[in-house]
Structures are given as C-alpha cells and as structure tokens.
Amino acid sequence: MAMLKTILGNLLRPSRTRAPADMPVVPPTYRGALTHDAGRCTACGTCAFVCAPKAIHFTQDPGISVSWHFFIGQCSFCGLCEQNCPTRAIHLRADVPGSTNSAGGDGLRLESVIHLQPCTRCGAAHVPLPAATMDALWAAGADEAERGYCPDCRRWAASARLRTAFTPDGAVAEGGRHDR
C-alpha cells in the first residue's frame, strides 16, 4: 500500500527528471575546473608531490622559464594540490569543467609558463617569489635589493647578515671559511 500511495502521489507531482537546462546547484565547495596562477607559483613542486594520479608535472626551459603542466584526463579532483600549495597558486573553481574535444588537446591540458627572471645580483635566471610573499618577507623594507635575488644570492645575503650579526667587525671572516 505504501508503494501505491507513493506512486499515485508521484502522478500528481511534477516529474523529477531533470532537463539539460535544469542544472543542479553547484555547491561552493565543489572541486571543479583547476586554475593556476603563474604569478604566485614558485615552482616548489609540492603540487606534483601530492598528486596521486600524476596529473601535474613541471618542465624546464633552462634559463628562460619553468612550465607547470596539468592534464585533466589524469586528474582525480581530490584537491590536494590546492590544499597543499604554499602560495595558493592553484585553485579549484566551483564551475564544472566543460566537456572538451580531445582532438586538439585543448582544454584537456593546461600549461602555465613561469618566466624566470635574472637575479639582480648575479644575473642567474630564477623563479621569482610571488609579490605577496615578497611583501610579507620584506615588509619592513629592510633590504629592498634582495627582492630580485635568486635563491642562491638570497642564501648569500642571509649568510652575510648572519655573519655581520655574529661578528659585527667582520674580523673572523677570513679565518672562518668552510667548505660548502
């Protein structure tokens, strides 16, 4: 009887079938299309490290750029890349990635080119830190010149700072050399 009541009730209600135009509401937490902000990416590789299906990888064009590659066909939309990205360069948007024709590979693959910049000190090409990170690191405007340094020069600068802090006169400098 429960079934009879139910189906007769169904007859009076509008149908539950959804038409193509009648799209369901996408929740804000929906893990949809993936975007990458090259400006924030430091090419640290965390996203590739946590990506179980290996949908993300990096390629290098030595001295010119680092490319972030993403293949949607391998993506499992787990969102770990977004969760673990230290600079929030990756974001999974709430909109549904449209179905795309794989013939040309468009839409299925994302490539984001992170251009290297020459170091303002040594000239070596490197991935610049995101602007926000730089603002946070050098908020005091302490050593404005360091903003353009490559990681090696940053280490050199830090080392120099340490040295000056440890021996303000710099007298030990000659005798304290050690192999790197």
Partner: protein, 302 residues
C-alpha cells in the same frame, strides 16, 4: 467483397497490421509513459516505440555461431503473422471478416503461436539465458492459460457457441463479470508484466528468450508484442464490454476500455516485485483456478 479479399483487408489494414501496429506502439508508449509518471519520471515522447522499432530495422542482423538460420529468422515472422491473423478475426466494429463458427477456437490457437515462437526462439538461440527464459515461458504459459482459456470458454458456454459474434451478443450478466475478472487475472502474465515478468527477468537471466536476437528480427518480435497487446486488450473489450447498437460508439468504447485495462495492469506492475516461477504457478493454479471454478460454476447455475 468476397471472403478472401475481406480476410486480406482484415489482416493487412483493419483491424490488422496497418491499424494494430501504430495502436500497439501507442499503447506501449502509454504504458511506458504511465510507468514513468508513476515513478516520478518524465517518460518518453509518444513516438518513442516507433523510433525503437525503426532503429532496430536499420540495424544489422547478427546470427550467432551454431544457430539454425532458417528457424531463427522464421520465428519472429511466424509470431507476427499469427498475432495479426488472430487480431483479424476479432470482431471489432467494421472488421470485414465474416463471423464464422469456431473462430474462438482458431483465435485461441493463434494466440498460442507467439508464445510457442518465444519458447522456440529461446531454444534455437542456444544461449543459456535464452533457454532458461524459454523454459520459464513454457511453464508460465501453463499457468496463465488456465484462467485465460476458462474465461473465454465460460463465455462460449454461456453463448452456447464458439463464435466471436455470439460471444458478443450474450446478454450481460454475472458470468461476464466473473469471466472478465478471470481474464484480467491472466493478463499480466500474458503481457509479461510484473509481478509475472518471469520469462523476461533481466536481473535473473539477462533478457527474455530473444536475447540473441538483434536488428530486424528483434523488431519483428517487438512488433509482435505490440500487436499482442492490442489483441489482448481489444479481445477483452469485445468480449466483456457490452456493445451498443452504434458501431462507432462501440469502437471508441473498446479503445477506451483497452487503455483502461492497460492502465490497470500497469498500475499493478509498478506496485509489485517480480515473483518466482513457482510462486506465479501457485498463484495461477490456486487463485486462477478458483476464479476459473467460480466462473465455470456460474455458467452452469445460470
């Protein structure tokens, strides 16, 4: 119009193929749509069964290895031919076929042919699923034929004749009611609907006995089923619905009655699960047998 021509017209045009195929499709659509609406779904558009058949007609006929070609292909044809011929002798208003004594017997004989074809289809296909379906179909037909035949024979007993026209002219009474109930009991199983969709239980045996059929032969089986639906509903209407003196009114009444009957069995189908073969058999031999006994008793005490 001589007899041969009238038979040809009856089989090809009215109430045969040309009329029954579209009506059958429409009725199948009605059932599908009703089921869909009862289940809270949208349901197919009305031309869907027609499209289904057209699609099948355009497909390749695949005959599996080791299957007897001739029988395999002949079965759907025989099935369609038999139901069409059966429909042609149902005295729907305007049927050009002259009513002849014994046509009820012929009708019942012809109505068994599609069942036989299905059983054979299962066996010739050599598929294990088809063969189990065929066995089920065969045994089930033993079950539902009891009330089905009794309903018709009881009417013939009352009419004192095995002639369709005579059956129609029986003064309306209790036997009509009882026989109609008995007939309706047999209907879901004859139409292979729940709870008696045992021979076509896709979740148990994948498909019905035409599991190996594809393309046009399958389309013919589908067509045969569509015409069978028309045949069964119109037979019910013609035998059990009182006729008026106006043929056109009769026709409308018959069609409406057919649709109502279909609605009823559809409602039953949507509120039930599929029974087992033994349960269905017991149902038909107990309740069908009881209804048959009461109906026969009513014809005798009348």
């Amino acid at each position: 119009m001589n007899a041969v021509w009238s038979y040809l017209v009856a089989i090809a045009v009215w109430p045969g193929l040309l009329f029954a195929a579209p009506l059958g499709w429409l009725e199948l659509w009605f059932m599908r749509k009703l089921v869909a609406r009862l289940q809270g779904r949208q349901g197919p558009p009305f031309f869907q069964p027609f499209f289904d058949v057209m699609k099948l007609l355009g497909k390749e006929t695949v005959i599996p290895r080791g299957v007897s070609r001739g029988i395999f292909l002949a079965l759907p044809l025989v099935s369609v031919a038999a139901v069409t011929a059966a429909l042609a002798i149902v005295p729907l208003p305007g049927n050009p076929v002259p009513s002849l004594p014994g046509d009820v017997v012929l009708l019942l004989y012809l109505m068994e042919v599609p069942v036989l074809c299905e059983v054979l289809a299962g066996y010739v296909s050599r598929s294990i699923y088809g063969q189990v379906a065929a066995m089920r179909e065969a045994i089930l037909s033993l079950a539902y034929n009891l009330p089905f035949l009794v309903a018709i024979i009881a009417m013939a007993q009352v009419a004192g004749s095995f002639q369709m026209r005579a059956l129609q002219e029986v003064p309306y009474g209790l036997v009509h009611l009882l026989a109609a109930v008995t007939f309706l009991l047999a209907l879901p199983a004859r139409m292979k609907l729940n709870p008696f969709s045992i021979a076509n239980a896709e979740h148990e045996i994948i498909a019905d006995s035409h599991i190996e059929y594809s393309g046009p032969p399958l389309a013919l089986f589908k067509l045969s089923h569509a015409i069978e639906v028309v045949l069964l509903t119109e037979l019910f209407a013609v035998v059990f619905i009182p006729a008026t003196p106006w043929p056109l009114v009769n026709l409308v009444v018959y069609l409406v009655a057919g649709i109502l009957v279909l609605g009823g069995v559809t409602l039953l189908a949507t509120t039930t699960a599929r029974l087992r073969l033994t349960q269905a058999f017991r149902f038909y031999w107990v309740w069908g047998g009881l209804a048959s006994a009461i109906t026969m008793a009513a014809t005798l005490v009348r």
